[in-house]
């Protein structure tokens, strides 16, 4: 089976992240950079479930990230720093937000879906800006990182690094299983041809809603980790530019492969860092690079080593089809 070869690249990347601290990348700077890449990689993975798996292009994923981060800040404000409370609460809250907003957003499709997720994202952004108890626009500085069993384990750089790595790998495995499961099959079929899924008896809505909620909860967890990594939370975490950045990561990495999101996140975080050292006006170079990658890497970074997966469709299928819209209108 070609499955083995397909997994080579993501396994190498994860192994590289595991080996990095022993290869001299154990400075505070390197840890910070890798933490950022792994956390955003988790969020991008969850978005990839929506974009690549379900064909749902959301421009509001940063809201889930931000809700997770703000959950940490709010609990910190209330004096709760126990990891066993903080992380589940962050995931649950973001998942709940996704469930409620998804129930509305998923009634629409295509461009309307993009716009409505963006609108919900902006609502969350302005809500965060007006939370005066948590610093409003200025943000909120955590007193310390979340505690594990009363210890300050997460303050240990190496420990934090490997916890993030385990969570990133776990998220990837979990979402891969989801895509391959019965549930994922209905999701993929509905993306490619919703009318066909309906014709055999599946109503796509509940499947999409569950996917949207799962993606929200994972992004919420990522947000809680981001708050811990930076020990600071601000409305910028929820800004819609962040949602766009996550979408970039997914597309650059390759929509047809879940792990593309990890590659995309790593590439963008490293590229940002590298270019900002190289050039004063590095953002000028960033844009064209992204455009070139979209034009010439049709299957993203994941497509460089692995051919598009047979049982999964090429990325173009992510576009909503006329048949889908027709079926919705008729329903």
């Amino acid at each position: 089976m070609t499955g083995r070869a397909r997994l080579l690249l993501p396994v190498l990347v994860l192994a590289g992240l595991a080996a990095a601290p022993f290869l001299g990348f154990d400075t505070g700077f390197a840890y910070t950079l890798m933490a950022r890449a792994m956390i955003l990689g988790m969020a991008a993975l969850s978005l990839s479930l929506l974009v690549g798996g379900a064909g749902l292009v959301s421009l509001g994923q940063a809201a889930m990230l931000g809700i997770g981060a703000y959950a940490v800040a709010a609990l910190d404000h209330a004096g709760v720093t126990n990891a066993l409370v903080v992380f589940p609460a962050a995931a649950l809250l973001a998942g709940l937000f996704a469930l409620v907003t998804g129930a509305v957003s998923l009634r629409t499709s295509g461009v309307h879906f993009i716009m409505i997720t963006l609108a919900f994202g902006q609502m969350a952004f302005f809500t965060a800006s007006s939370l005066s108890a948590l610093g409003g626009d200025d943000g909120y500085t955590l007193y310390g990182r979340t505690e594990w069993m009363g210890t300050r384990l997460l303050e240990d750089r190496a420990a934090f690094h490997f916890i993030l790595l385990a969570l990133l790998a776990g998220t990837w495995l979990l979402l891969s299983a989801l895509i391959d499961s019965r549930f994922g099959r209905v999701l993929r079929a509905s993306r490619e041809n919703a009318l066909r899924a309906q014709a055999v008896g599946f109503s796509p809505f509940p499947y999409r809603l569950v996917a949207y909620t799962v993606a929200g909860a994972i992004s919420g967890l990522a947000g809680a980790l981001l708050a811990n990594a930076t020990e600071f939370v601000s409305p910028a975490t929820l800004a819609w530019g962040r949602s766009g950045e996550l979408l970039f990561m997914v597309i650059l990495g390759g929509v047809g492969q879940l792990y593309g999101a990890i590659l995309g996140a790593l590439a963008i975080v490293l590229l940002e860092e590298w270019l900002s050292h190289l050039l004063n006006y590095w953002r000028l170079a960033f844009g064209p690079l992204l455009i070139l990658s979209v034009l010439f890497l049709r299957n993203g970074l994941a497509g460089i080593t692995a051919p598009p997966r047979r049982r999964r469709a090429p990325p173009k299928a992510a576009a909503p089809k006329a048949a889908t819209l027709e079926a919705r209108a008729d329903a």
């Binding site: 490619e192 066909r196 014709a199 055999v200 008896g201 599946f202 049982r311 299928a317 329903a331």
Partner: protein, 251 residues
């Protein structure tokens, strides 16, 4: 007379000022092939849409297996045993033929809110899917990506998907459209072999196939059923000749 499997009672559908379905009542009995013929624009596909649930009629009732299903959604009717094929081929192009059929098997065998076990390793789904593919003569093409199949194969695949649903009634919208002479022959033989197990409502332009297969025929003109009768009655009906079949074809 046995209880009808499908009964339409006074269906009516208007698009603006145009009445496309005008007081249509007909029945399909278990084990019967009931063909609906009519010129282009007579409203045959619109009628299929209303039976399958992709369109809601303005008036009238759809009764399936003794239940009023008029308000049921398309997926719900499908789960109840009402399978339809489409005039324009409708498959999941990125799935293999096997996975296309396995999706239909999955729909009727337990919950699909299962998240961790790989679906393509479920032997029960795959075996049933393979059997359905073999039933339509596509057994050797199970691993082929559906989007890369020939037109005729896609039509066969669609039929296999419908059969894998284990339906009680098949709604077939021009299953022979675009098929070559050999494919037509094979599909006609296949449909004939299905008659005993399912009720079939067949919309078809190929008169040879209709007359070879149908137990009863309804002629639809401008949304109205002009006549329902046996093949013999339809062949000899004067109004049908002028409205649809043309004099030459009857010679």
């Amino acid at each position: 007379m046995p209880e009808p499997l499908l009964e339409l009672r006074g269906l009516r559908k208007r698009f603006g000022g145009l009445t496309v379905t005008d007081d249509v009542s007909l029945t399909v009995l278990p084990g019967e092939i009931h063909a609906v013929i009519g010129p282009n624009g007579a409203g045959k596909t619109t009628l299929i849409h209303q039976i399958s649930g992709t369109l809601r009629p303005d008036e009238g009732e759809v009764v399936f297996a003794g239940q009023r299903v008029t308000d049921w959604s398309f997926p719900r009717r499908a789960r109840a045993g009402l399978a339809r094929s489409f005039q324009i081929t409708c498959i999941v192009p990125g799935f293999t033929a096997l996975e296309n059929v396995a999706l239909a098997v999955q729909a009727r065998s337990g919950s699909s809110f299962r998240f961790f076990r790989p679906a393509h390793l479920e032997a029960r789904l795959n075996e049933a899917a393979r059997a359905a593919l073999e039933g339509v003569g596509l057994g050797h093409r199970a691993g082929v990506v559906a989007g890369s199949m020939s037109h005729g194969e896609k039509r066969q695949l669609e039929l296999a998907v419908a059969l894998a649903m284990e339906p009680r009634l098949l709604l077939l919208d021009e299953p022979l459209a675009g098929a070559g002479p050999e494919e037509t022959e094979r599909l006609v033989a296949l449909l004939r072999s299905l008659r005993q197990r399912y009720g079939i409502l067949l919309v078809e332009h190929d008169m040879g196939a209709v007359f070879a297969l149908a137990d009863r025929v309804s002629v639809l003109v401008y949304g109205r059923v002009v006549i329902t009768g046996t093949v013999e009655e339809i062949r000899s009906h004067p109004e049908v000749r002028s409205a649809y079949l043309g004099e030459d074809e009857m010679a």
